[in-house]
Symmetry: C2
Subunit: 314 residues, 2 copies
């Protein structure tokens, strides 16, 4: 039996710092990422992919705002859906080509529009914290706050930025069809950008909400729901470190759940950095997953084989 | 055995003439459309949906152009992919809700990012004819022609408009996974906007192209590839007519392939109107399909039961 791995790809898998964000740049980065993924498929792992969409949905928000002089702008859930289509297209295209080149075309890629259900009573809706889109002037921020009821915060020296709720993912709405496709050998791309956030309202109906779900936490849900053996977060550092950039800096290799939980309690993993990644990994192992991995994109296959990265096991 | 039907939805299924194009308007139209689709599922048909994206991708093109002062604009294939995500989200959301309300939640909706392969030597690439996006001034059109090598044409009195190739769909790249999901009882939404147009280049790799595939012709391919019994085009007229708006006007009801081919040869179905719809239907029946239907969205279920619409059979 092949082992099943859900891979959550960080922003650097699609867009590098300092790039402008042309389609060509993004496609080239995706191609590079896909080469790592194809090595996993070659090594007989069943792979499910998910990815972030920060810079892409940021670009979409700008386009919707600048376009609003002619056509109505749309809310975050619609913008997220657009980014799933666009990023998903890059991945299926690149995977089709790379898999065919390696003679692995029986593993066909498929990208699904994916919704993720959140609790409408999640505390995040009371206290929005996730910055989205570009920085604006105070004037523009105040205008948006009064016109649209949005929340904007000032980032000293850089300007004003919109913040939206980042609720906890409760359930992948499309999990049954995803599980189904993975079982039948397809390489599924799902829950892009953390998924399109929806709640079930008082009539029992799904309704989109203005929020962004952390893609690593959504990836953990996905990993649970497809019964993955391994949950792997690929980012731009080789391992998790504690006391980073101090004389006591220490890279973490193979760690037990208990050891990692102890470090988390001591406050080593910050919200704006490794916090959500470590949290997602701990959840996965706590919920019965075999192993969670945080590693760099470049060392993905070695990390999968336990030679690199931070490994969290029982 | 349930009969399998591929339904190609026209523009009016998502956006009505004269509407501004807010998310709320589009979601309400989709909800109305989905009520018709759910009646088909209730009547035990296996349904696969495809849809146009003209006004939506038009809006996307405007956003990319106006946004290009800050972030790079993307080509038609990327814009089409965005529209598949956005429109697909509206359909899965609305279908989930309506199916649950009717106690039909075992029929789960799923939307796939779908590519459609076209021939790189298709004559359409030499002679672009499909207008996309809004009207512009001559100055802007000339600028785009010289800067980007695009083709623009003048429409007397209304301004200049970009035209792109509209090649014939050769193959739905995702057909295997679609067939698979339909066989297993999912309500699949695929090939939105005629699909993301791709060619296979001289290296044997898929590559996106700047083109728009007619959604009815792509729908016919989809119907063939999922082995549908019925191919149905829903639009805003109750039937196909000949000599429309003349004293000799005649609505067409149940027609044989041969009768309809004869009318087509006589030039009754114009390129800008019923031409591609009739062409797609004739292809479907000629290729062995049981029945093709052109009907109004409002009379969809009656047309499926042969009580309304234009029916083309052997």
């Amino acid at each position: 039996m092949s082992e099943r791995v859900v891979v959550a790809l960080g922003g650097n898998a699609i867009l590098q710092r300092g790039q402008r964000g042309t389609a060509q740049e993004q496609m080239a980065n995706v191609q590079h990422t896909v080469e790592q993924i194809v090595r996993m498929i070659e090594a007989d792992y069943d792979v499910v992919l998910t990815h972030g969409n920060g810079p892409q949905v940021g670009a979409t928000l700008i386009r919707h705002e600048l376009g609003s002089v002619q056509i109505p702008a749309m809310s975050m859930d619609f913008c997220g859906a657009e980014s799933q289509g666009f990023i998903g297209y890059m991945f299926v295209q690149s995977l089709s080509n790379s898999l065919r080149e390696k003679g692995l075309e029986k593993h066909q890629p498929v990208c699904l529009v994916t919704r993720v259900e959140v609790d409408p009573h999640d505390q995040a809706f009371i206290n929005p914290t996730k910055p989205v889109g570009p920085f604006y002037t105070q004037e523009r921020a105040l205008q948006r706050m009064s016109e649209k009821g949005e929340t904007w915060i000032e980032d000293a020296g850089r300007g004003w930025r919109r913040v939206v709720p980042s609720p906890d993912p409760a359930r992948i709405v499309e999990s049954e069809v995803i599980r189904h496709l993975v079982n039948d050998g397809f390489v599924v791309i799902a829950s892009g950008g953390g998924g399109i956030p929806v709640v079930v309202d008082h009539n029992g109906e799904y309704k989109g909400v203005e929020a962004v779900i952390d893609k690593d936490l959504a990836g953990e849900r996905l990993a649970q729901e497809v019964e993955a053996d391994i949950f792997m977060i690929l980012t731009d550092v080789p391992q998790v470190a504690i006391n980073y950039n101090t004389p006591r800096q220490k890279w973490l290799g193979v760690m037990s759940l208990r050891e990692m939980e102890a470090l988390e309690k001591e406050g080593h993993f910050k919200a704006g950095s490794m916090g959500p990644k470590v949290k997602a990994c701990l959840r996965f192992v706590r919920n019965g997953g075999k192993r969670a991995v945080i590693a760099s994109l470049e060392e993905a296959i070695e990390a999968l084989q336990m030679k690199k990265g931070t490994q969290i096991t029982h």
